[in-house]
Amino acid sequence: MVNLTIDDKQVTVAKDATIYDAAKSAGIKIPILCHDKKLHPFGGCRMCLVEVEQMKGRLIPSCTTPATEGMIVRTSNEEIVKARKLVLELLLLKHPVDCPVCDAAGDCDLQNLTYEYGVSKNPLSDEKFRWEIDYINPLIERDMNRCVHCGKCARICDEIVSFGAYTFINRGIDAKMGTAFDGPLECEFCGSCVSVCPVGALLSRPFKFKARWWAMQKVKSVCSYCGTGCQLTLGVKDNKVLTTIYDENQGFHNGQLCTRGRWGYQFVNSEKRLTTPLIRKGSALVEATWDEALALVSTKLGEAKSAAAALVTPRLTNEELFLFKKLFTEGVGSENLDHSAGYAHAALTDAALKGLGEAASPSVIADIQKCDLLLVVKSDAYETHPVIGFEINLGVKRQGVNLRIVSDKSGKLSRLPGAQTLLHTPGSELVLFNTLANIIVTEKLVDASAPLLDGYAALVTALSSCTVEKGAAVTGLTPEALVALAKEYAASEKALILMPLGLGYPGHGSALAQSLLNLAMLTGRIGKEGSGVLFMGEKNNSQGAADLGIVPGKNGKDAAGIIDGCIAGTIKALYLVGENPVVSYPDRKKVEAALSKVDFLVVQDLFLTESAAKAHVVLPACSFAEKDGTFTSLGRNVQKITKAIKPVGSSKSDYEIFNKIHAAVTGKPLYASCQALFTEISESVSGYAGLTWAKLGSNGVVRPVTLSPKLVPVVAPAPTAEAGKFALLTGSALNHCGTLSQYGEGPMMVCPEGYVEFGRADVKRLSLVEGDKVTVSSTAGSVTLKAKLGNRLSEGVVFAPYHFNDNSINSIATGAPVTWVSVAKAK
C-alpha cells in the first residue's frame, strides 16, 4: 500500500495504482478522454494532467503515473485548468463541432468537458478534417472527422476483443484511426469500440437519429440471448426499446456485449410481434379474445391430462418456469415436460446431477481468469458465448492462462498467444476424453482424493480399454499429443474445462459432460477455485431451467419422446412455450409431422414462428423487456430483469398467462406477483435458499452449489464414418443465438442467412468462390446454402450454423453428433 495526499486528502491505495486511480478511490474526479479502466494505460490525450509537488516544473498525466509514497497531488489549479483548456482547444480545432446532429451529444466526453471548462472561443484556427464517413458496414458509422485520437477503439478491439480491426494509419497530418487498407469495417460487430468511443466518431447506425440521449429512460436488465448473462442498459422512449446503452460498471464484463446483446434488441418492438391471441378456424388462424383462447387451452390441457406434453424455452424467467412446472405437473397432471430438445441441457440435468448431485456447473465465470490451464471443448465456445470469449482473451493475455483447445475445427481462440489446438476427427470427443482419463490413471497422475470417490474402481476398470493407441487411432491425434495434454492438465495447479452446450451441438450431451467431470474429479479439481468444469448453457436461462427441473418426470417423456408420442398419437395436446422445434430441433420433417399430427397444439410465443403457424391456438407472449423476473446465468448468477416498456399490443407476459391457466386448472387463487413466486422458489429449490428479491440487488447473487462428487463411467461409441462423404458439423454462428436473433435486426444485418463453411483444401478441390450455392444432402434430405470460405476446417469437414428457418440445417441433420453429407455445387 502507498499513502499520498490528493487535494489535501489522505489517500491509501494499492501499490500498482496510478494517481488517477487513487483520486478516484477518494472520490476526486479527474477528467479523462483516452483512459479506460478496462484497458492498458495509454497517456495520449493529456486531459488528466495534475500537479505533483515532488515533480514540479511540468504537469503530470495522472492516468499513467504510478502513485508513490508521500506524493502530494493537486488535481486542479489555474495552470492545470489552462492546460486542459488548451487540450480541448486543440481538439476542437479539427473537430466539426456538429453536436446538433450527433447522436453522442449528451453522452460525449468532448462536449461535456468543453462545457465544463467553458471553452467558448478558440484563439487558434485550422482547417477541419475532410474524411469520408464509412457508411458501408451496416452497424457502425465511422466518422473520423469527429475522432479525438484517443485510441480506445483500437485498444479495446485488440486487448479485449482480440479482433484488431483498427490501428492508427498514415503519418503526421494524415494520421487517422483506420482499418487495414483504410477499407470499410468488416469485423465481429460486437460494438465494443462504439461503447468506448468518447465522442460521436463511432455510432450505432440502427440507432441513428432515433432519440436524444437525455430523452431516453435508462433501464437496467439482463441480455436475453445466451447463458453468459451479460447485464444490459436499455434506452427506452415512447414505449420502445431504441438501443442498448453502455455502462462500464455493469456486470463482471464491465458493460461489454456481443452483437446479439448490443444490436439484437429490435425483436422487442418488431413489427412482426404477435399482438392478439389467435384460434384456428379451419385452415386459418383468426384473432380471438384472451378469455376465449385461455378457456380453450385450459379445457384442452385439462382433458388431455397425462397425454398432454410441453416443451418450454429456457428463455423464460425462473418465476415463469417455476409456475409453469406447477401448472403442468400439478394442474394438468402430466410429466411430459422438457426443453431444448433434451440433449442441449443433459450435461446439467443428467451428467452434473448424477456426478455432482446438482444440475449445475461446479465452477463459475470468475474461474476463467483464475485458472492456470484452460481446456476448451470446441473452439465454438467463442461463437456460442462471445463475452465468455472476451474473458478467455483476457485470461490468456493478461493472466497468463495456458489455453488448450480440443476441437473438430480451429477458431478464433486458436490464435491467442500460446494457444494450442488439438484438431481431432469429428465426433471423437468422447473417446478423446476417456483416453485422457485413462492416461491420468496409468501414468499415476490421479489426485489422492479420487480413489475415495464413489465409482472409482468401476471407472478405472471401464477406462482400461481406452488405451492411448486406440485413442490416437480414433481421434487422429498422435499418442504423444494425447499424453502431453493429459500430463499438462494433471500438472497444472488450477485447471478449468469449458464446454458449450446448445441445439447446434448434439454431441455435447450427458456422456461427454460426464467424461469431463470424471477427468476433473480424477485430478481433484472439483470445488477448487479456478478449477473444475463450466458447462455453458445455450440460452439466457438455461441454468434456471435446469435448477427448476424443466425436465420430464419419472414416467414422463423427454423432448424426443414427446415428438414421437405426437406422431404415435399417445400425446394428445402439445404446449409449446417459446420453443420453435420446427427450425431448431433435430429432424425437421419428423418435427413437422408431429406438430401436424397432434390433436391440439398451443404455441405461446412473441412471433408467429414456423411452429406457431401449425398451432390451434396461438398466445402472444411478452419479451424480457416487458416483464420483471430473474434469470440464472451459466455461472449460476441469479440476476433481475426489469420491466422497461408496457406489453406490446395485447400480449401478456408468460407469467400472466401461466397464472391464469394455473388458476383455471388447479382452482387455486392467482399469484399476486412474480416476487411471490421467487419467494416460493427460494423456499423449495436447493441453492436458492435464503435468496430474496432485495438481496439480488443490481449485480445478482451467485447461487451456491452443494456437491457430492461421484465418478460415473461412460462408454464411448466409435465415431461414425462414411467414405467419400463430408462430415457436417452444426453449431452456432457468432452473431446469432437460437432462433430468436432472426428477429433482431443487427444480427441479421451482418449474418442474414445460413451458410456452409469450407476449409482451404476443399475450397480448392471444389473450386469454390465465396457465395457459391452448394447443395448439401444427407439421408434425411438436402438443402441449398451459400458457401463460405474459411481456414478453420480440415479437408472433408464442413460447418453450418442452425438458427435459420430458410433451408434450416435440421432438414438434413437428425441429431447425430456428425452428419455425413455429400456436397455439390448447385446449378
Binding site: 458501408i136 458496414n137 451496416p138 483500437a154 485488440d158 479482433f163 484488431g164 480491426a165 483498427y166 490501428t167 492508427f168 494509419i169 498514415n170 503519418r171 483506420g178 482499418t179 487495414a180 487498407f181 483504410d182 477499407g183 470499410p184 490464435r415 444485418m749 451482418v750 442474414p752 481456414n791
Partner: protein
Amino acid sequence: MSHAAVQKKKIEEAPAEEVDLTAANAIIDKYLTLPGNLMPVLQGIQDEYGFVPPPTVALVAERLNVYPSQIYGVLTFYSQFHLKPRGRYIIRVCVGTACHVQGAERIVETFFGKLGIGHAETSEDLRFTFEKVACLGACGMAPLAMVNDDTFGKMTVQKVDEIIAEYNQRPMK
C-alpha cells in the same frame, strides 16, 4: 443499402490480385521464429517485389499472427514501404528551399509533362516513378534531381529530356 449489395460492391472494387506468394513465404520462413520479425519480413517483401502487394499482407498477418490492420499501420507510417508497384527507375526532384529558389518547379512540371505522371505516380509500363522530395542535402548543386542512386545537379529543362532518353534505354531488369 443492404449488406449483400455492399459486399458485392467491395469485391468489384478490389479485384483479387494474382500474386505469387512463394517468395513471400520463403521470407517469412526465414524470420518466423525470430522476435520482432514483422519489420524484417516486410522489408524483405518490399525488396523482393518492389512493393508490398496486398495479398502478402494477408499472408504475413496469418503466418505471423498479427492483425492486418497493424501491418497496414506500419506500412503507412514508414515512408520506405510502398503499397503499389514502383517503377524500375525512381526519379526524385528536390523541391527544398535552395532548389525551389533555383526553379525546381519548372523541372517538376517538365517531368510531369514528358512522363505523363504526377507526384508519387508510376508510369503504366512500370519504368518510372516520379516523386517530389524535400532537401536532398546537396543544395550547392541546386536544382537537383536523382534517378535511383544517380545524382543530376544544376538541372535544366533540356537535361530532363536527356535523362528520360537515357533511362528509357536502360534495361528493365
